[in-house]
Symmetry: C2
Subunit: 146 residues, 2 copies
DNA sequence: TATTGTTATACTCTATAACTATA
DNA sequence: TATAGTTATAGAGTATAACAATA
């Protein structure tokens, strides 16, 4: 069995490299962790949302979201206020510095994305995207059924 | 910016799911970590090799290999002897129980691989494989040049 | 009793480098 | 001085569950 020809292994290596290449932008240059970046991207989709909405817009666990928000709040990028409709909940929003940082990072990571895909034709991108959906569905089936 | 449509994010999620689906076989059922599994797959390619050859056949660091080998040796799956040609080096090989375990696992993970890809035509698989190579090359360029 | 969000804990991974013994 | 491999340590990332406040 040749590990190099084994699809899950190829996929894992590619994902690792792509993740490294992309994360350089927000980690090395702006000291943001991956979770903080994901939370900011979620928050940027609306002027204000509940913590639970952030959960719904990411694949993160509530504990990861809680910690990412705490760090973003310490850094002054995000602010929280109590939800007037539910005493247990918070309303979260990007503060101006957070929004500015987000708007600065987005074009940079999008440029990296385009560079990563630049050798692929439009047709190849379509196949790739469809293949991701199909393989992902099969993977979820395997996980569900042990 | 929609994270769900962002290629590096899609790739990371897919890899995570596929890794989970594949690792179930050797982790849950046989208590092997990913590194141990990779080392066993490398060792199975020859009757005996140096630790440094294991390094060359995987993308692991020497420290990871050292730890994986130590665990495999504790579990009786691998044995080491001093290299008569270099007092610093070791010769490593799978012990019979290790080889038997490897031969038991291989068809199981291959079946999972085939299942994961079962919705893809031969042509789609070719596109996918070529795309991985192209994107991987671009990613390595980005990593190298910051 | 159930839910929102926080905190605690432990385990795995990863990254860096110091260390030993040979070469 | 360099190399093979080990050990130490610290930082992320992940998973589980206990917990306080509120519903």
């Amino acid at each position: 069995m040749d590990l190099d020809q084994f699809f899950p292994y190829q996929l894992a290596r590619l994902a690792e490299q792509v993740s490294l290449a992309t994360a350089q932008v927000y980690q090395t240059r702006f000291a943001l962790g991956r979770d903080e970046w994901r939370v900011m991207a979620a928050l940027a989709q609306a002027s204000e949302m509940k913590t639970s909405d952030v959960l719904g817009r990411t694949t993160m666990e509530k504990m990861q979201v809680s910690r990412a928000l705490a760090k973003l709040e310490r850094d002054g990028l995000v602010e929280r206020s109590p939800d007037p409709e539910d005493g247990r909940a918070y309303l979260v929003r990007l503060r101006p510095p957070g929004l500015a940082l987000y708007r600065k990072i987005v074009p940079m990571v999008q440029a990296r994305e385009e560079y990563l895909l630049s050798d692929l034709s439009e047709a190849e991108r379509k196949v790739l995207s469809a293949a991701f959906a199909k393989v992902g569905e099969r993977a979820r089936q395997l996980i569900r059924h042990g």
